[in-house]
């Protein structure tokens, strides 16, 4: 067929598809006119075949480029997931995240071990040999921690009034989630970055815990951290787990090429990181507005902490089960 005739015959169809695409591109809601979609499907398939014909027959580059553009735009609309964001969020929290976690539960325990074993080890060491803390941080830092958790304090943690709770909330969000993301990102370096973050943080936390407990600040310290610890520590373990997932994909690729194994592992890893980020938001909330209250007696705080731990464990262990396994 002559190109001129070709353009005459189908030019209007291409014009219509362009209009349909413009309509699809601007409308951001979920309700679409079914007639529009039906026309889109029809037109798109036809234009695909026109494009293929134009290429095979070596029609002019301009025509091929224009048809290529239509096909590219149509391809996008046909193959993207457009379900409502809110539903996706709900499904994520109550199904996708816990299920993905349980699928790699071994990695979770590994990450937990990498965090807690150094923590407990150095904690015990610093408890019996307090001077060991100085191999981890300098005198200035240590005395800062001592004053933060001084039993004489009205408020625990950083000295602050109630309005700086807000500021600390912002700080915890930006700082802790940042740490979580970096722990995850380190995983792509064959997991080495993640290992480093987990072990380093574990040593740090454990060392401080052990030191302060023997120093006499045990009560303020533990009543402070126990509240948000459930969410925060678990979330860091999950970020570590996600990073390890990436790292292991690069090493133990199974039947895939290394790059493909990485791409395949990145999806569940992302689910885990995002879920962990949400948990860290909750942890920041608790840490900023509850943990530092000095007026609450420690036993109450410990009870609340135990409740929070039970909540975290049952959420991660049980949520999403009744939908069955993927």
């Amino acid at each position: 067929m002559k190109q001129f005739t070709f353009e005459q015959k189908y030019g209007e169809l291409w014009q219509q598809l362009d209009e349909i695409l413009r309509e699809l591109e601007k409308f951001r809601g979920d309700q679409r006119d079914p007639e529009l979609l039906r026309r889109f499907n029809q037109h798109y398939r036809q234009v695909c075949s026109h494009y293929a014909l134009a290429r095979t027959r070596h029609y002019s580059p301009r025509l091929i480029a224009n048809l290529h553009d239509l096909v590219l735009r149509g391809h996008h609309h046909l193959y993207t997931d457009k379900r409502m964001l809110l539903w996706k969020l709900v499904r994520f929290v109550f199904h996708d995240f816990p299920v993905t976690l349980r699928q790699d539960i071994g990695l979770f325990w590994l990450a937990t071990a990498l965090l807690y074993v150094p923590a407990v080890t150095l904690g015990l060491i610093c408890y019996w040999y307090p001077d060991m803390i100085y191999s981890l941080m300098d005198y200035g830092n240590v005395s800062q921690f001592e004053s933060m958790y001084d039993p004489e304090n009205h408020r625990l943690g950083e000295h602050r009034g109630s309005e700086t709770d807000l500021v600390m909330f912002g700080f915890y969000i930006s700082n802790n989630i940042g740490v979580g993301f970096r722990t995850f990102a380190g995983g792509i370096l064959a997991g080495v970055g993640t290992l480093f973050f987990l072990i380093f943080n574990g040593l740090h936390m454990g060392g401080i815990a052990g030191y302060l407990t023997q120093f006499g600040n045990g009560q303020p310290f533990w009543s402070f951290v126990s509240g948000h610890g459930s969410f925060e520590l678990t979330a860091i373990c999950i970020c570590g787990m996600a990073g390890l997932r990436l790292g292991i994909a690069l090493i133990a690729t199974g039947r895939y090429r290394r790059l493909d194994a990485l791409k395949i592992a990145a999806r569940p890893a992302l689910t885990l990181v995002m879920g962990a980020a949400l948990m860290l938001v909750v942890a920041a909330f608790i840490e900023a507005f509850w943990s530092s209250l000095g007026t609450i007696p420690p036993t109450v705080k410990y009870y609340v902490a135990a409740m929070l731990w039970i909540i975290v464990i049952s959420y991660l262990g049980l949520a999403g089960r009744r939908f069955g396994h993927q």
Partner: protein, 237 residues
């Protein structure tokens, strides 16, 4: 057939081949510089505005800075057709491996892993990965399955200059026909001297040089535009 080796193709399930050109480290670095400057500008303005709100403002500022640091590129890549302002300025676009626009998942993965690409010294790992990878992918791109390509120019309306159609003196292969059509279509962008210079190359076929040759070639192009393809390829319609 394609001389540029930065062209990548992907075949869709409809059997159509999509083409795009991947972008290297230099334009991407420039785009990054732009984006960083824009982000600092936003930080500065936000700081001024939010410090007026006291403690609440400062808290919001911290959260806002966090979101900007990690999610500024994600937002633009998904909502703004695959390009942050910096990338748009350089004519770049982020797409999936198969040419489709990025979704939230892919964009988030590639931008979270920016933290790894940043090591050891200002994108050391990222740059190394880009140079070792044939698609110029940094670590984030590899994990997310994305590419940074040059934004395809769309909606070209180049038309062949209208001259009376003249049949070519000998049968031309499809590639040769396309070359003549290409020449005619791009005639508007070339200077007259350059067009004539190119037309002179075909003097053995056209029998004319300079302006005459150019007009003759335009005549061939018009003829080809309305001509049936030769049957050598067997796909007549």
């Amino acid at each position: 057939m394609d001389i540029q080796d930065t062209t990548r193709t992907y075949e869709t399930p409809e059997g159509v081949t999509l083409e795009f050109r991947v972008a290297g480290p230099v334009p991407r670095a420039l785009a990054l510089a732009f984006d960083t400057a824009i982000r600092f500008g936003i930080y500065y303005v936000s700081a001024i505005v939010l410090t007026t709100l006291g403690a609440l403002g400062f808290s919001l500022f911290l959260i806002w800075m966090f979101l900007l640091e990690w999610f500024y590129p994600v937002f633009f890549e998904v909502v703004w057709n695959g390009a942050t302002p910096g990338k748009k300025a350089l004519g770049l676009k982020v797409v999936n491996d198969n040419g489709t626009p990025v979704g939230w998942g892919s964009s988030t993965i590639r931008n979270l892993l920016r933290a790894a690409d940043f090591f050891p010294l200002f994108y050391g790992f990222g740059l190394t990965a880009m140079l070792l990878n044939r698609d110029f992918k940094r670590l984030g791109d590899m994990a997310a399955g994305t590419l940074v390509i040059y934004r395809p120019k769309s909606g070209q309306t180049l038309n062949i200059p209208a001259t009376p159609p003249v049949p070519p003196p000998l049968p031309l292969s499809l590639t040769e026909q396309r070359a003549i059509l290409d020449f005619a279509e791009r005639g508007q962008w070339l200077s007259t001297e350059r067009s004539e210079e190119l037309a002179t190359i075909l003097q053995p076929i056209t029998g004319a040089e300079g302006n005459n040759g150019m007009q003759l070639l335009y005549g061939y192009a018009n003829h080809l535009h309305g001509t049936e393809a030769p049957s050598t390829d067997g796909d007549k319609q």
